[in-house]
Amino acid sequence: MRNNEVMTKKICFAFAIFLAITGCSRLEDENSKSEAIDNTEEVDNYYLERPEFFSFKTLEDLPADLKWTSGDDLSEIGSEKAKKGGTEYRRLQDFPRTLRTVGPDSNGSFRPLLNDYVTISLAGTHPDEFDFYPGLATSWAIDRDSKTVFVRLDPNAYWSDGHPVTTEDFFFMFFFYQSEYIVAPWYNNWYGTQYSNITRYDDHTFSISVPTDKPDMASRILGLRPVPRHYYYDLADNFTEYYQWKFPPTTSAYTLDTEKDLQKGRSIKLRRNQDWWAKEKKHFRYRFNADTISFNVIRDSSKYFETFRRGEIDLFDLTLSEDWYEKLPNDAPEVLKGYIQKTVFYNQHPRPTYGLWINTNQKFLDNKSIRVGIQHASNWKLVIENFFRGDYQRMQTSSDGYGEFSNKNIRSREFNLDKAQAAFSDAGFKKRGSDGILINGEGDRLSFTVSTGYERFKDILTILKEEAAKAGLELIIETLDGTAGWKKVQEKKHEIHFLAFAVGLEMYPRFWETYHSENAFDKAFLDDGNVNPDRKVKTQTNNLELFAVPEMDRMIDSYRESSDKDEIQEYSEKKITAV
C-alpha cells in the first residue's frame, strides 16, 4: 500500500514536470510573438536610403499623355456553364517541406500549384489572345521610352484578411524579395537587378520601371504579385523558421487555414474564399469553381493510380504507356461508362526539361569527352519508341518550344556506340574490364551514379543502363523519394540526375538560372579571368551542371540586358549552341 502511494506520487511528479515542460514551451511561443519585431521603421528607411529605386510622387506628376489600356474587350476566360461547389481531390507525391514560397526548400513542385490558386498578378496573359487581361490592376499604360509601366490598382482588391491591396504592398514586395532575411539569392538578384524603380502616385496608382526595354517588359511588370505589407511587419532574421508553416493572406480565390486545413505529412486543403473580392469580376467569375481543393499525399504511384480509379482522386496524368494502354485502356469499364474521360491534348508551351543533368564538378564528368560519350551512350530512342511506344518526342535542346527563340538546327547527340567509344577513349578509357565496363590506365572504371526523384520513371533508367553497358559505361541507378532527390541536386551532391524543371510560359528561354557561373560557384573566376582555385560550390541554385564558362557568363549578361528582340534571338541561339 505504502509502495503504491510512493508510486502514485512519483507518477504525479513526473506528470507535473511533463506539463511544466510542455507548458513552458507554449509560453515561450507566446513570448516570442508578443516580443514581435515591428519593422515599419526599417522598411521606411530602406525606401528612403534608395531614392533612385523607391520614388514618391503625387498624382499631378503622372504623365498626361499615357495611353491606358484595360484589356476589358478580351473574351471571357472560362465558361458560364461552370458550376460552383464541391471538392476537387488532387494528389501530392510528397508533403512540401515548407509553406513559404521563397527561401530554402521552397522551390518544390507544390509552389507553382500554390501560386496558381492563391495569388493574382497585376494582369494575366490571356490564354487565347496573347494579350493582358486585368487582375489586380484595372488599367495600365506601357511607356517604352521610359521603360516604365504605369498601373492603376483595382480599388476593390482586398487581401483575404480584409486589408485592401495598395501601392504599399508593391513597395514592400521589392523590400521583401531584395532582403537577406528570406535567404533566397535568386530572388535577391532578380528583384534587385531586373527592376530599376517603383514610384508611388497614390494608394492605388504606381509605376514600375525596368533597366532595359526588353520585348517582354510589360509581362515582367504586369506579372508581379504583391507581398502583404501588413502581414510581414515582423519580417526578420528568423523568417525561414518562423514562417515555415505560416500562410500569408491571399489575393486569389483560395485561402488556407493552417489550424484546420494543414495535416502535416498528409494533406493540405485550400478553401474558396466565399467573400472573394473578384468573384464577380470578368475573367475570374467562371474559374476557381471548387469550394475546396484537397491535396492528399500518396507517395506510391501505383497506389495513386488505384485511388484515381476508385474515384478518390479527380485527375491523373496517364504519362506512362503502360497506364494508358494496359491499365486503363479505352474499353475499360470506367471509361466506357463515362466515369473517367481520357484525353490527349496539345498546347503551345515550352516543355519541361527532362534529361540527365550531369554534374561537371565531379571526377571524370569534368571531362567533355566523357560527357559527349555519355550522350552517345544514352539510348533515348529505344526508351521513346519501345517503352513509350512512340508517344513522346526527344527534346533537341534544353530550351525547346520557344518558337523563333529556339535554335532548330541543333540536334541532340544520337545513340551511337562507335561515337561513344571514340569519345571515351579520348578521355583515356580504352580497355574493357572483366565485366565489360571500360577502364582507364589507372584502373578506374567508367561508372557513374544516376539518381532520380521520380520513382515512376526508374524503368527508363534501367533501360538506359542496359544500353549504356554496351558502350562500356556503367550507370548505377539510385531512386530516391521526390524530396530527397531534390535535396540531393540542390546540394549538388549528384553525379548524374534525371529530372525536369517546370518551365513557365515566357517569350524566350532563361539561361541565367541554369548556366551562369554565379549559380555554380562562389566567385567562380578570378579577376584576371582564370578559374578561382578556392571556389566553393554554390548550393540551392538551379545550375545543376555546375556549368561555369566565362564566355557563357558574358553572353548571358548581355542577353539579360539586351532589349533588342533580334539580338536576344541571336544570343539565345548561340547559347543553346554553346550548351
Binding site: K327, E455, T462, K465, E466, T479
Partner: protein, 308 residues
C-alpha cells in the same frame, strides 16, 4: 556453352566475352541467342548450347519492340512471362532467389557465430560479465532494425557497387539480429555447465575453450539446429520486405521483393508477375521449413539416444 573454332567457352561462368571474340562486329557482351542462329546458318561446325532459360535477368527482350508485361508462353521462351520492361521473370526469379539464399545463409552463419560465442561466454562465465552483457543486449535489441536500415541506407554513398551495398545491408541486419541467439545459448550453457560431466572435465584440467566447444556446444546443438530454418526464413522475408519497400538492393538487381512490388502495381493487367513471385517465395519458405524439419529430426534425442 559455346564452341567456336575448336575452343570451348562457358559464358555463364566466366567473365565478359565481347562480340568480336566470336567474329561479330560489336564490342559489347555477345548476344548468344543471335550467335546460335548465326552459327546454325553458317553451318561451319561452331555451335552454342543454350540453358533452358535463354534470357539474362537484365535484358529487355520484347518480341514486338514494345516494352510491356507479357503473359507466360512456351513459344517465345518466357515461361513465366515478362515484367513491365520486358525482362524475363523466370530468369529474374532464379537470380533473385540465388541472391536471397546466399544472403540468408551468410546472415545465418554470421548471426550464429556471434550469437554462439557471446551466448556461451555469458552462460559459462556468468557473474558480472553475464549481467553487463544482458543489460547491453536488452538495450541493443530494442533498437528498431527496420529504421536503422533505412537510416543507414540514406547515408550510404550511392556510388558504391551493388555487392558493397549488399554487404552493408547484411552487416546492418546481422548487427541488429545476433542478440536473439544469445538467449538460447546462454540458458543452454548454464544448464550444461552445472552437469557432472562438465565438472569432471574441469577436474581433469580441460581448458575453458575445450569445455565450451568440445563438451557444452555439441550438447546444445539440437536447440541451435531447430532455429536455423527460422533464421533463414526470417532473413529471406526481411530482404524481400526491404526490397518491396525500396530500401533493399538497388535497381536493377533482380529480387523477389522488387517483382512483388511490380506485381502489386500491375495486379489487374499482369497477374502472372505477382503469382510467380509469390509462388516462388512460398515455395522457398516451405522447402526450407521441410529441410529444417528433417535436420531437426536427425538430431532428435528421443529417436537417437539410448538410455541404459
Amino acid at each position: 556453352m559455346v564452341s567456336y573454332e575448336g575452343n570451348l567457352y562457358f559464358p555463364t561462368y566466366s567473365a565478359f566475352h565481347p562480340g568480336t571474340e566470336f567474329g561479330l562486329d560489336y564490342q559489347y557482351e555477345t548476344n548468344y541467342r543471335e550467335l546460335k542462329q548465326k552459327f546454325q546458318e553458317e553451318g561451319t561446325g561452331n555451335w552454342v548450347l543454350m540453358p533452358p532459360v535463354t534470357f539474362n535477368p537484365y535484358e529487355n527482350s520484347a518480341q514486338d519492340n514494345i516494352f510491356r508485361p507479357r503473359a507466360p508462353s512456351i513459344e517465345n521462351g518466357h515461361y513465366l512471362g515478362t515484367d513491365t520492361t520486358s525482362r524475363d521473370i523466370l530468369s529474374r526469379l532464379i537470380y533473385g532467389t540465388r541472391i536471397a539464399l546466399w544472403f540468408a545463409l551468410a546472415f545465418t552463419l554470421s548471426v550464429y557465430l556471434i550469437g554462439i560465442i557471446i551466448g556461451c561466454a555469458m552462460g559459462y562465465f556468468g557473474g558480472i560479465f553475464d549481467l553487463l552483457f544482458q543489460r547491453f543486449i536488452e538495450i541493443w535489441s530494442n533498437i528498431p532494425f527496420l529504421y536503422m536500415v533505412i537510416i543507414v541506407f540514406s547515408v550510404v554513398p550511392s556510388g558504391l557497387p551493388t555487392s558493397a551495398r549488399i554487404m552493408i545491408l547484411l552487416s546492418v541486419m546481422v548487427l541488429f539480429s545476433w542478440t536473439s541467439m544469445t538467449y538460447y545459448m546462454r540458458t543452454e550453457t548454464y544448464r550444461e555447465k552445472s552437469r557432472d560431466y562438465v565438472s569432471a572435465a574441469r577436474i581433469m584440467g580441460a581448458s575453458t575453450g575445450r569445455i565450451i566447444f568440445k563438451h557444452i556446444l555439441p550438447n546444445a546443438m539440437s536447440t541451435l539446429i531447430t532455429f536455423v530454418p527460422f533464421t533463414i526464413i526470417a532473413a529471406i522475408t526481411a530482404i524481400t520486405a526491404l526490397d518491396f519497400l525500396g530500401f533493399g538492393l538497388p535497381p536493377p538487381t533482380p529480387s523477389l521483393g522488387e517483382l512483388l512490388k511490380q506485381g502489386t502495381s500491375s495486379l489487374r493487367t499482369a497477374p502472372w508477375i505477382v503469382i510467380s513471385a509469390f509462388g516462388t517465395l512460398v515455395m522457398i519458405l516451405t522447402l526450407i521449413t521441410f529441410v529444417g524439419e528433417a535436420i531437426r529430426e536427425s538430431f532428435d534425442p528421443k529417436k537417437f539416444t539410448i538410455y541404459e
